[in-house]
Subunit: 247 residues, 2 copies
DNA sequence: CACAGTTTGTGAAACTTTTCACCAGCGATT
DNA sequence: AATCGCTGGTGAAAAGTTTCACAAACTGTG
């Protein structure tokens, strides 16, 4: 089996969501075309993605909703439950605890740690916040698979190291910085500020484009090379960050 | 100038973070190599990314940290402040309000809406929670650029529609489903459950690979390419959701 | 059974993104 | 002034991802 791209995995999660809905609607079969439509992608993409892992459909009929969903969940490793340890009982940590959506997908938070002595011993949801110092011992006693880093930026790498030492196999990082972890540990970073910045760029860009449209009929923006230091913002091409329109 | 890829934009945000740090360390110049090292990517990537927008370095010397940072922030549209309207005063909404990190980057939450009459009128941070029904009027009176959807899944599309109607230019969506918005509105989705699922896949996968090593013909180290330069080690996949461009 | 209508799975083509490799510009040194 | 060591910019190659397009597999119908 070839290497699976990150985008494929992401789409598999999407398919799972769609299938859940479709299942709730009582449909028994679904075609790649209808599945794609709901996600705003092409049917070829859906078929390609699935074909990476096997052959789950029937020509002329489509995919059996229930079966496909099970296959996808097995591929994603969601046919089991995962134990999660959370480090950082601040805003993000609290939001994660309060948000029950993960449990539904099979992720159970089993321990919460923080460094702030004011918080240690208090309860967060069903969990008593423990001193980060006892993480190694706590993890030995009651191991977890995935660690969540929800600490301030400067503590993040140390916490990640501690989690790796404690034997986690994956880390979900909410601190806005690049973490370095050994190759056998999976890492995923969620940076909300960066999402805002992406929007900022897309909006700014679309304004520049609109503004440039009439004026940018200007000669060749590509003479020798000497693009003036202040002359960014020449003719930007279409493309566009945004998503498709719909409905 | 060619279309700018989403990954380039994401990296620009990263560069900004690194430059901020480097600036704090008092360094005046930085080379593409050192900048890349901090992000776990190649120096060619850094130079390519930057060259999309102009020519900011000096051969033999590198980039002026302060100047480059200003350029990047201008490119990203961070040389101004953005007004943000938040819909949904639940867990995620509260976490966003409590997290001051956005303000630092130029994003000010200026209004908060919810549908739950128990919450309407209460304060969340500095903001009084308003009835979602008054969103159109409130947005007319005090417009905002970006809308955040932090509602339950089934309300998400309606809220997005309302935000579009209210004239926002970008939407940040935390609901775990695909939203459809017109092409002139930028959309970015953060799905935390999906991040967990990505980890689940990666972990499951690595187990399968380890197990199958002897038997199956697994990808294995490619004979062709040298195993990257020294530091290419640790950091693998970094977070990143959101989407590509639509039609 | 033959035929029409669907829909999958998949090579190959098209397109996008990353990496390579090298020239040219820079300060420092002699 | 000539040379050295370093570094940015960039065209071209390589690698990766998405889309196209079509044979093959399936059901239903006459």
């Amino acid at each position: 089996m070839t290497r699976v791209s990150e985008s494929t995995v992401r789409r598999l999660s999407h398919y799972d969501r769609v299938l859940e809905e479709v299942q709730a609607e009582g449909k028994r079969m679904i075609s790649s075309h209808r599945l794609a439509e709901r996600e705003g992608i092409t049917s070829a993409q859906v078929r390609k993605d699935l074909s990476t892992f096997g052959s789950f459909g029937r020509r002329g009929l489509g995919y059996n909703v229930e079966r496909l969903r099970e296959e996808i969940r097995a591929i994603l490793g969601l046919d089991r439950r995962w134990k999660v340890g959370l480090v950082g009982a601040g805003n993000i940590g609290s939001a994660l605890i309060a948000y029950r959506g993960f449990e539904k997908q099979g992720f159970d938070i089993v321990a919460v740690f923080d460094r702030d002595s004011a918080r240690i011993g208090q309860k967060l949801g069903r969990h008593v916040i423990q001193d980060i110092a006892v993480l190694p011992a706590a993890a030995r006693e009651n191991p977890f698979d995935i660690g969540v880093v929800a600490t301030p930026i400067r503590a993040a790498q140390d916490v990640a190291n501690a989690l790796v030492a404690a034997g986690v196999r994956g880390i979900l990082n909410f601190a806005p910085r690049k973490l370095f972890v050994p190759a056998h540990v999976a890492l995923s970073t969620v940076d909300m500020a960066m999402e805002f910045e992406g929007l900022s760029f897309a909006i700014t860009q679309s304004v520049a484009r609109r503004r440039g449209r009439a004026a940018a009929a200007v000669p060749g923006p590509k003479p020798g090379r000497a693009r003036g230091p202040a002359s960014r913002n020449a003719g930007r091409r279409s493309g566009g960050r945004t998503r498709r329109a719909g409905t």
